[in-house]
């Protein structure tokens, strides 16, 4: 793979200064996404995956938040840009899709007008051309009777339709990077499939790099080329889909995959005892060690580094071996 690296995040840390204490929600994350690649960021609630995507876009209020590290987007560090320069990139070069599509649209303006306004911000085209584009986009994302529906208000759209509009809107400016944070979590399974198929198709067509945040391992497996697994603010493993789901090296990843009901005739699911630690009570050493079935004494002392087991497979575990 020699495709251009679109997003290169290095040592990203997100702190929150609250009541005189500092809570570290994201702790030194490094990741990259190349052109044409779909990378999944997966973890359970509180793992820090959404905060990571929000920090990349600088959508976290600072203070109380504090973001350090580097977020290189096509060579430029987004953390160094002023607000103006940043807002020229957001929406045009980087598109965003969030969980709640209804909340992303303004309820008092017609859907078509909102699409129109968003595009006018980024495209220098005359009004009639933009209007035609709006109808095109609605048709493209499978909205029936697009010319009529453009005059509807958001509440007249179902959740799935609204999310498809958001996808169409996001991709209309042919962004280099799409960040989708739980884009289908609020949707039913058949509608979810429609939206994800649309994201995948548009990403493949435009060559956009995609960072897909999800708690759903099945979605990650069907959508992504590579996956990054997060636990309690840190990356514990990253590799191709085949490796992470076929031969995971980190005990957390292994346990997570075993928790899923996948095959018939299983009498009990695999489980992980306990719960992920909260930010106020992070254990020393490896953050997974209190729940880890193979933890050794050093795991509660030394923080395991994210080591390369093979060129494409990294795991943060003292005991990880390639192909384990």
């Amino acid at each position: 793979m020699t495709a251009e690296t679109i997003l290169d995040v290095r040592d990203l840390t997100v702190d929150f200064h609250l009541d005189g204490t500092v809570l570290r929600a994201v702790d030194g994350i490094s990741l990259s996404v190349r052109r044409g690649e779909i990378v999944g960021l997966v973890g359970e609630s509180g793992a820090g995956k959404s905060l990571t995507s929000e920090a990349i876009l600088r959508l976290i209020r600072c203070p109380p938040g504090r973001i350090t590290g580097e977020v290189r987007f096509r060579g430029r560090n987004l953390l160094d840009l002023d607000e103006d320069a940043l807002s020229r990139i957001r929406g045009r070069e980087i598109a965003m899709i969030f969980q709640n599509p209804a909340g992303s649209l303004n309820p008092v303006f017609r859907v078509g007008a909102q699409l129109h306004e968003a595009m006018a911000l980024h495209l220098d085209e005359p009004r009639p051309a933009l209007r035609a584009r709006v109808v095109d986009i609605l048709a493209r994302v499978g909205i029936p009777a697009p010319r009529t529906r453009a005059r509807d208000y958001p509440h007249q759209f179902s959740g799935g339709m609204a999310q498809r509009v958001m996808v169409g809107m996001g991709m209309s400016c042919v962004p280099a990077l799409l960040i989708a944070d739980e884009p289908t979590t609020a949707l039913d399974v058949t509608i979810q499939a429609q939206v994800l198929a649309l994201i995948r198709q548009l990403a493949r067509e435009t060559g956009a790099a995609v960072l897909l945040v999800s708690h759903d391992l099945g979605i990650i497996s069907q959508m992504c080329d590579r996956v990054i697994v997060m636990y309690a603010g840190r990356i514990v493993e990253q590799a191709s889909i085949a490796t992470v789901f076929g031969a995971p090296a980190h005990p957390y990843t292994r346990a997570l995959v075993d928790c899923l009901p996948r095959v018939d005739g299983v009498e009990r699911l695999g489980t992980i005892g306990g719960v992920m630690p909260g930010l106020r009570a992070l254990p020393p050493g490896c953050r997974f060690h209190p729940r880890c079935p193979i933890a050794e004494p050093r795991c509660s002392v030394d923080v395991p580094a994210l080591r390369a087991l093979t060129p494409d497979h990294r795991a943060a575990c003292h005991l990880a071996r390639p192909g384990a």
Binding site: G218, F245, T271
Partner: protein, 362 residues
């Protein structure tokens, strides 16, 4: 981790054994639902009333029939708005049915009201989806779990703490949790409390309404295992309502698929997943993102995915309610509503595609 859940200490087992229902009517199903209907009227505006327009209704549950045997789990699966939650509530008589029969242990309970329902309420309980809003934040765990037993007069006040402790241990909590409040517990622990509360009165049927949907993957696995363990130990029957086919596949013996207020297919779990017959069931199964090896994606074959969206349950079309989205639509699908008929042993489906097979058998 299952060991922690499988608490076989004589104390707790005894306490529950005493509460656990026995008896029942050999041969007859524990729960039998026939042609269950729930219509929610839509409030009319003054103009509509003045013009004497027909009152309109949401046909949330529109003629549903099924049975649950003692010790059996029937999975009820469907997408939002299909009526699965309403069905669960009707079965428990939490809301009144518009029509149909509900027989529990042979007794018709659809027509009972008020205190006449009390004995039934002991026998059928519910576990809700959201462990954050279904527990009273001002009550201790001990009171939440203990109160149903007092209400039903099942235990003397002096014996209550011991009973509560036994129940908490049965669901994998410690007796010390009785002193705590819901906000001190994690989501998974709260759901265990919800289960303990349901078990406290010794039910034979538990309706689990999206009972694991709000939980993270690793916690969800623990709670699903607990449901299975309790079924085995106490001989419980579950009506397990969920939108999640993975969950349904793990927990169910038989599965009923619901679409727009009606059942479209009911079959044993293995049969349903290996040989789904109804086009809606097939589409539903095709849309689940299962874990693969990354070599191909279901999202690259849009032809297999379902187009369109659920029609409104207010103005249901004539004929088959799935016809508007069905890839195998035939002319008669728009005219005649298919009935739920047997096509194989214990496998029923409501679809004209299998009309011939049905004709031969009947």
């Amino acid at each position: 981790m299952t060991e922690r859940v499988v608490d076989e200490r004589p104390g707790s087992a005894g306490a529950l054994g005493a509460l656990g229902g026995q008896g029942g009517h050999v041969g007859a199903p524990l729960l039998e639902v026939e042609d269950l209907v729930k219509h929610f009227p839509i409030r009319q505006g003054p103009l509509a009333r003045l013009l004497g327009r027909e009152p309109r209704v949401v046909r949330a549950v529109d003629g549903v029939s099924f049975a649950v045997q003692a010790g059996e789990t029937l999975g009820l699966v469907g997408e939002s708005g299909c009526g699965k939650t309403t069905t669960g509530r009707l079965v428990l008589r939490a809301i009144d049915p518009t029509g149909g029969r509900i027989r529990f242990e042979g007794d018709d309970i659809a027509g009972l009201h008020g205190s006449a329902l009390l004995p039934f309420r002991r026998r059928a309980q519910i576990v809700f989806q959201d462990p954050y809003t279904s527990l009273n934040p001002r009550m201790t765990i001990g009171r939440i779990v203990g109160e149903p037993m007092l209400v039903h007069g099942l235990v003397k006040r002096a014996d209550l703490p011991e009973r509560v402790a036994a129940l908490l241990e049965t669901v994998g909590l410690q007796r010390e949790h009785a002193e705590r409040y819901p906000h001190e517990l994690s989501g998974g622990q709260r759901q265990r409390v919800g289960i303990a509360r349901a078990l406290s009165v010794g039910p034979r049927l538990v309706v689990a309404d999206e009972a694991v949907s709000a939980l993270d993957v690793s916690v969800r696995a623990q709670i699903l295992n607990l449901f299975v363990t309790l079924r085995e130990r106490l001989g419980l029957a579950y009506l397990f309502v969920s939108h999640d086919l993975g969950v349904i596949r793990f927990v169910s013996h038989r599965v009923a698929v619901m679409y727009l207020g009606a059942l479209v297919e009911v079959a044993p779990v293995r049969e349903l997943f290996q040989r789904p017959l109804h086009p809606y069931t097939q589409a539903l199964l095709a849309a689940i993102p299962t874990i693969g090896d990354g070599s191909s994606s279901i999202f690259d074959q849009p032809g297999r995915l379902l187009d369109g969206e659920l029609p409104s349950p207010i103005d249901l079309p004539r004929g088959c309610r799935f016809a508007s989205r069905c890839p195998h639509r035939m002319p008669r699908c728009a005219e005649v509503e298919p009935t739920l008929d047997t096509v194989a042993s214990d496998h029923v489906v409501a679809c004209h595609l299998y009309g011939d097979a049905k004709g031969e058998r009947s």
